[in-house]
């Protein structure tokens, strides 16, 4: 593994290996601890799973296109819809949000990297290990079949005797580690590493929303982990936490799942809210309307999100008083969400709105999420929900929230920040195809599901009989699903074509959108060291305010060009943390432990060896490589990211005391 022996190695007698040096090629991608590359890795991996989850969705729609569908059969269908849900929630939307958070959050607060760069790499590799572990269940012929919600006791060994739910329980525990580690990392980054002058209320709304999401993750992931841990013990070691035969109450699982599961909804949606809160002002050429309200409503959603979980259980028999309380709390969570919608509209109102692709997607979020929010209000009414719950009306609702709200917002982010990340724009023309195909296909697929649900079509059914009035809209929805697929295809084509075109064209320049926040101080694509110099922040939207001022009449006048404001990325004496082998090694051990718990405990041995080796190597890894391309020791500011290598945030010069 080590291709060069270190002369300085003796100075760190316990350093098992030198740190890797590659900054190009696959070695670089595997060992990188650069938040930007990790962001790209998150995005790329999530898009692969997006395609997988999308294929699962198309299979679902093919099975349901006609009555008595035979495309999949009941057993396979149950596995496919389970994995579609698990994939889209845990392996697509969450990591896509992580991709944006990793790439942009340090840039938006003017930092060099996240607080703990190696832990950041560990988060990604653990996520990937968990994701591959979950999808390995397809190859081993036993994908989970109990739904992403995994209601007990249907997921116990008696009712789900295969290994599928073990893949679920263990796989999601693994991805949960990734989320937790990442949450702590990003919280510390935001709280400790903001550029001088950037008070919390000068932070971009995207950073704010990501911060709220990290707190939600910090408290929600442990709950689902406990539930999954208990489920794993029930299934593998004969415990009876969820076994009604032995006196357990199956509703325990539902409470644990939804105490996680409802904040999870906001974990999925708030990053998108953050993204479009950056996009809408930029393209409306106005500041965000009511920044404090936007921040506080996001925080309010984060808090209130903890008090509504039992609205998923209105018909489970929890008693009328509980149902009444959660019904009312659910109604009031509509208030901060409504504030956001109206503030976005007010931002656009009176603007000079340029409907480039990012803005199309952002305004798509505002409209489509409104529909999802309104249908959400209709089932906050517990009596109405007794008719609506577990029908396609709910399927329609949460797809309007998660596809129409979260995913469209993420696509807005792709188009908006693509030049920041890759140095060239995505084609606006193909982008518009992308948007309109997705929007039309999306509404064709999920719009009719409102009708199907109100007509009584139950969720999670692998087939329906003719004569219930379900035929027409199901066929219609299936056609819509394939139009969505065309939209996704347009995106992929756009990515490839734009990259090819960019080779023959001059670079995009520093500020393609006339943007507002700190990340645009860096050239495009962002250089490895991010900022040449610290930025002294005076105002919210600092970047914009350096470009524009006001004359005596209150008119906006340009005071500097973007080229003048932007840094040129020429700094060479920046200290950067060195790459590391150990995150990927540690993560690679986890699936072995998981398989060992399921098949034979002996498989835990190589897993444990990998993990222990990685922890050892990690602990005693030399803090830095002074001669490597990354290591230039000077110019340490107190706000600079310190490598977590030796002892938390000890600056590299101070040798760790072992």
């Amino acid at each position: 593994m080590t291709d060069t022996m270190e002369l300085e190695a003796p100075a760190r007698p316990l350093g098992a290996y030198t740190r890797p040096k590659a900054n190009t090629g696959w070695r670089d991608w595997v060992t990188t601890i650069d938040h930007k590359k990790i962001g790209i890795l998150y995005g790329a991996a999530a898009m692969v799973f997006f395609v997988i989850g999308g294929i699962e969705a198309l299979l679902i729609r093919l099975q349901l296109a006609t009555p008595d569908g035979t495309v999949l059969g009941a057993d396979t269908y149950n596995r496919v819809f389970t994995m579609h849900g698990v994939t889209m929630v845990f392996l697509v939307i969450m990591p896509l949000a992580a991709a944006f958070a990793n790439y942009l959050l340090p840039l938006q607060v003017g930092a060099r990297d996240v607080a703990f760069p190696r832990l950041n790499a560990l988060s990604f590799w653990i996520f990937l290990a968990g994701a591959l572990f979950l999808n390995m269940s397809w190859i081993l012929g036993d994908a989970p079949d109990g739904g992403w919600f995994a209601y007990a006791p249907n997921t116990g060994v008696v009712f789900s005797p295969g290994k599928g739910m073990d893949f679920y329980a263990i796989g999601l525990q693994i991805t949960g580690i990734a989320s937790l580690v990442s949450a702590m990392n990003l919280i510390v980054t935001v709280l400790n590493m903001r550029a001088p002058g950037m008070t919390l209320f000068k932070m971009p709304v995207f950073t704010w929303m990501i911060l709220v999401v990290q707190f939600l993750l910090l408290f929600a992931i442990p709950v689902i982990t406990v539930a999954l841990f208990l489920l794993m013990f029930d299934r593998n070691f004969g415990s009876n936490f969820f076994n009604p035969e032995m006196g357990a109450d199956p509703l325990l699982w539902q409470h644990l799942f939804w105490i996680f599961g409802h904040p999870e909804v906001y974990i999925l949606i708030l990053p998108s809210f953050g993204i479009i809160s950056e996009v809408i002002p930029t393209f409306s050429r106005k500041p965000l309307f009511g920044y404090p309200f936007m921040v506080f409503s996001g925080i309010a959603i984060g808090f209130m999100g903890w008090g509504v979980w039992a609205h998923h259980m209105f018909v489970s028999g929890i008693g009328p008083i509980s149902v009444a309380a959660f019904s009312v709390s659910t109604m009031f969570i509509a208030v901060p969400t409504g504030v956001k919608i109206l503030n976005w509209l007010a931002t656009m109102w009176g603007g000079r709105v340029r409907f480039n692709t990012p803005m199309l997607f952002a305004s798509g979020v505002v409209s489509m999420f409104t529909i999802g929010g309104l249908s959400g209000v209709t089932h906050s009414l517990a009596p109405a929900d007794t008719q609506q719950t577990d029908t396609y009306y709910i399927v329609a609702h949460f797809h309007y929230v998660i596809f129409g709200g979260a995913l469209l917002g993420i696509f807005a982010g792709f188009y908006f920040w693509w030049p920041k990340v890759f140095g060239h724009l995505l084609s606006d023309k193909l982008g518009k195809w992308n948007f309109w195909l997705m929007l039309v296909g999306f509404n064709m697929t999920f719009g009719p599901m409102h009708i199907l649900g109100l007509q009584g079509m139950s969720r999670r059914i692998d087939s329906y009989s003719p004569g219930f009035g379900f035929e027409f809209w199901n066929m219609f929805a299936t056609i819509g699903a394939f139009i969505i697929a065309l939209g996704v295809l347009a995106f992929i084509v756009n990515v490839v074509m734009s990259a090819r075109r960019a080779r023959h064209e001059p670079p995009v320049g520093p500020d393609p959108w006339d943007a507002r926040s700190l990340e645009w101080f860096t050239p495009n694509p962002t250089p490895v060291h991010n900022f040449d110099d610290d930025i002294q922040v005076e105002a919210l939207d600092e970047f914009w305010h350096r470009k524009y001022g006001e004359d005596q009449n209150g008119q906006v006048v340009r005071v500097a060009s973007a080229e003048e404001v932007c840094q040129d990325g020429s700094a060479t004496d920046t200290h950067l943390p060195s790459p590391s082998y150990w995150p990927v090694v540690l993560a690679a051990g986890l699936p072995f432990v998981g398989l060992g718990l399921m098949y034979t405990l002996w498989l835990c041995v190589p897993g444990a060896v990998l993990i222990l080796m990685a922890i050892y190597g990690w602990s005693f890894e030399p803090v830095d490589d002074p001669d490597g391309p990354h290591g230039h020791h000077n110019d340490h500011g107190s706000d600079e990211p310190a490598d977590d290598g030796a002892s938390g945030t000890t600056p590299a010069e101070e040798a760790p005391v072992v």
Partner: protein
């Protein structure tokens, strides 16, 4: 200059037309066509909310449309629009305004909610075994993979121990998949499960309530007029979740009384030779799980299945559906739907997915064709066919 998308509004309008036409189609599970006072009260709560939601929808989409038309950058000038940072009063307004609207909705919701969870039953008179019983109409509903059982206790549920759903006390009437109720009375339901969680739902009569093992959840239904009301299990319950349906047959009280009387008796001993041979096959094979009163109800200690129960077949022919409410027992003309029944007896898992090897669902019994004919002959002796209008009403297709 490029026209802003007029096709957008056209699509919306045509969508609305399609939506309305979709709702008008024949849908036996439609949630918006209540057939009893309980479901009607839900409907009368929901309808105004759909209206409120519709108004908000129009306002938001109207604003979006105005932004598209009026505030698009037409590139006529490079000037910035007025830089508005917010408007505190407006924002407080659209924080407090929706909160007030929601508070009003909450009041109506809570009134409706507690009303739905109250019980307002009056006893009805039912003649049982020749003596008139004052029955507090309450039916125990038991879900299991993948069918429903309905148990009638005419002496009421006081002192009836429902805590162990796999060993329930004997009931006056035990039937499956098709629940029979009298019209005009609120029927209390006690819903539980023998294995995983299911959900009992007859949309025309009330919303749904989960059947949770070790829990007995109260619920209720009421039908205005006689008819057959369809339902579908709505909580994912494993492999054949989609094939777990149920029906509620509402009858005039007099017809209900007649139904009770016919259900109370044990099975009549079969007369034909084939049917007698069929009963032998039943006792040798089917009786391991199924019960026919008067044949093996005294000796049966429960079914050799995870749920410890299979449908009671004593009055099979009085029902119009079987196997979790997915097959019609009769042809539309009222004759036996023999091909389907034979196929079911020949190889049940091929007709309806099940984990027979995991003792969940009916296995392939390995009967010979002759035995199948005999069993069909025997089954035809079990109970009387229902009135023809019920047979006709259960034909969905």
């Amino acid at each position: 200059m490029k026209r802003p998308y007029p096709g957008w509004l056209a699509a919306l309008a045509s969508g609305a037309v399609l939506t309305l036409s979709g709702c008008a189609s024949d849908a036996p599970l439609d949630t918006l066509e209540p057939q009893g006072p309980i479901s009607r009260s839900i409907d009368s709560l929901s309808d105004p909310i759909f209206l409120v939601a519709g108004i908000v929808f129009v306002v938001i989409f109207g604003a979006t449309a105005v932004i598209w038309w009026k505030f698009r950058d037409d590139h006529s000038t490079d000037e910035f629009p007025e830089q508005v940072h917010g408007n505190f009063r407006a924002e407080v307004g659209w924080t407090v305004g929706p909160a007030v609207i929601m508070a009003v909705i909450a009041v109506f919701t809570l009134i409706s909610h507690f009303d739905l969870n109250s019980s307002d039953r009056t006893d009805i008179q039912v003649a049982v075994d020749g003596t008139t019983t004052s029955w507090d109409p309450e039916i125990v509903v038991v879900g299991q993979q993948w069918w429903w059982e309905f148990r009638y206790y005419f002496d009421g549920l006081d002192g009836v121990d429902l805590s162990d759903s796999r060993n329930l006390p004997p009931a006056d009437i035990v039937t499956a998949n098709q629940m029979v109720i009298p019209t005009g009375s609120e029927i209390g339901l006690s819903i539980t499960s023998r294995d995983v969680i299911h959900s009992f739902w007859i949309p025309a009569l009330n919303g749904k309530r989960d059947a949770v093992p070790r829990r007995v959840s109260p619920w209720k239904i009421e039908a205005d007029v006689p008819g057959v009301y369809f339902g579908q299990c709505t909580e994912f319950c494993g492999l054949s979740h989609s094939r777990m349906r149920m029906q509620t047959v509402a009858m005039e009280p007099a017809d209900f009384q007649a139904w009770v009387e016919s259900q109370m008796g044990p099975a009549v001993a079969p007369k034909g030779v084939a049917a007698q041979r069929g009963q032998e096959v039943f006792e040798g094979q089917c009786a391991r799980c199924h019960v026919v009163n008067g044949v093996n109800d005294a000796t049966s200690s429960g079914a050799d299945l995870v749920a410890n129960a299979a449908p009671n077949l004593t009055h099979l022919m009085s029902r119009t559906t079987y196997a979790g409410g997915i097959f019609n027992l009769y042809e539309p003309n009222g004759t036996l739907n023999r091909p389907q029944l034979e196929a079911w007896l020949r190889n049940a898992p091929a007709e309806k997915p099940a984990y027979a090897e995991g003792r969940r669902g009916m296995p392939a019994m390995g009967l010979s064709e002759g035995q199948i004919d005999d069993v069909v002959a025997y089954l035809q002796t079990l109970g009387e066919a229902p009135a023809f209008d019920i047979i006709a009403a259960t034909e969905v297709e």
